[in-house]
């Protein structure tokens, strides 16, 4: 089967570079799975699990934000935050989720900024936990 070049870059480093058979990710328009030969498309990342299928092996990462540029022979993701499954600390993610939930529930003294921060933190924690499953 055909393969395409997959490249994931973050502002700090090149996160992943290789040949893959298929890439699955979450976008603002919904979940997509993308094979080589796709029409040119740019999509915006929605926090979610990223799966890279490479020679029957699946590499999993938690992708938090960024966008992806899909071309027939390549797949570029510009990620602001992304981390491999084995870089995630499950305990920490769970604790962060609890903390964020609690902050959102105590509605009395929370301003917009704090709320959006807590929501982002919660979203991150959920994505991390999803990636570990």
């Amino acid at each position: 089967m055909d393969k395409f070049k997959v490249r994931i870059v973050t502002p700090e480093r090149v996160f992943y570079e290789g040949e893959a058979d298929m890439v699955e990710m979450n976008t603002t328009e919904g979940q997509i799975g993308c094979y080589p030969g796709h029409i040119p498309l740019t999509v915006i990342v929605k926090p979610g699990v990223l799966n890279i299928h490479e020679n029957g092996e699946i590499k999993t990462a938690a992708l938090h934000s960024g966008f992806a540029e899909i071309l027939p022979d390549s797949f570029n993701i510009l990620a602001e935050t992304v981390e491999w499954k084995d870089e995630i600390d499950e305990e920490r993610a769970k604790a962060a989720m609890e903390r964020a939930k609690k902050r959102l529930e105590s509605k009395t003294d929370i301003d917009d900024l704090e709320r959006s921060r807590a929501e982002t933190a919660l979203q991150r924690a959920i994505t991390r936990i999803d990636a570990l499953k």
Binding site: P11, T42, G66
Partner: protein, 289 residues
């Protein structure tokens, strides 16, 4: 002619200074290497981002989008990236000069955001309107810092307080060449002057999900964060490069001065020996007579 003791004291003091400049040079060499490898790593992200934004802009063409069109405010914001510490040659003053000597900018309609204390001090002295100074960022630039600053800038742009956003920093061309650069962040001019037409082939067929306008809304803030982050990293590399050069010059100047003083010292010593001898000989001759 200075006495032997004076020359000796002067030489010791210069030797002390030389040791300091030598150590500073070594430190900035190491920092430069780290900063340079960071700059290389972030280049990838920056290039891809730039290409994507160009391709979107090429597709959108003439648009009324708020980030492309600009607003009616006459005020301009400038992000100035300098260092917190001096002893880096002309590094800081070159960036500052870029703005103070530009006829497009007048003191009264500028909002200055400084990153780095040296820039803050210089603009403060010149009496510019400084909205914010963020000296901590330049110590270890992260993408999150760049994003925070972008949010502040975009907010005042959207509220109509400022109409244009510029950024002044030092581009790190290589270890010896650092170019003070002024770039315009917003509004983005729709057709880029230096696009060579090559990438447009793919761009023409690129699709965007969601639509072009939404994609702009979303991507342009990221693009600006990316630009600021890139500039911070370049500036850090340039700062250390400039400091390394300055300290290298200082060290070799000190070396020259030490050599010169050593020569003078030896001459003075020889002179005093000769004088003593002459005195003794003259004395003994006076006794014989």
């Amino acid at each position: 002619m200075a006495s032997m003791r004076d020359i000796k004291r002067r030489r010791t003091s210069i030797q002390g200074t030389q040791q300091i400049t030598k150590a500073m040079k070594l430190v900035s060499t190491v920092k430069l290497q780290r900063a340079r490898s960071n700059a290389e790593k972030s280049h990838n992200y920056f290039d891809t981002m730039y290409r994507t934004v160009c391709s979107i802009l090429a597709r959108v063409g003439e648009s009324d989008h708020r980030y492309l069109k600009g607003n009616n405010s006459g005020r301009k914001a400038i992000v100035v990236i300098t260092s917190n510490r001096g002893l880096a040659g002309g590094y800081n003053s070159n960036v500052v000069k870029l703005i103070t000597s530009d006829p497009r900018f007048s003191k009264d309609d500028l909002d200055i955001y400084t990153i780095g204390n040296k820039g803050y001090e210089a603009f403060h002295r010149h009496g510019y309107n400084i909205v914010r100074n963020l000296p901590d960022i330049i110590e270890a630039p992260t993408y999150t810092d760049a994003m925070g600053l972008t949010n502040i800038l975009l907010k005042s742009y959207e509220e109509g307080e400022i109409g244009e956003i510029y950024m002044a920093y030092t581009f790190f061309k290589n270890t010896v060449t650092h170019v003070p650069t002024l770039t315009k962040l917003l509004p983005i001019s729709s057709v880029d002057e230096d696009s060579d037409g090559e990438p447009d082939k793919i761009d023409a067929m690129m699709n965007f999900e969601p639509g072009d306008e939404e994609a702009l809304d979303w991507i342009i803030p990221k693009y600006i964060s990316g630009q600021i982050h890139g500039a911070l990293i370049e500036a850090l590399a340039s700062e250390n490069g400039a400091r390394m050069q300055a300290m290298d010059n200082a060290t070799s100047n000190a070396e020259d001065m030490i050599n010169d003083l050593t020569l003078k010292y030896n001459r003075a010593r020889q002179g005093s020996i000769t004088q003593e001898l002459t005195e003794i000989i003259a004395g003994s001759q006076a006794l014989n007579d």
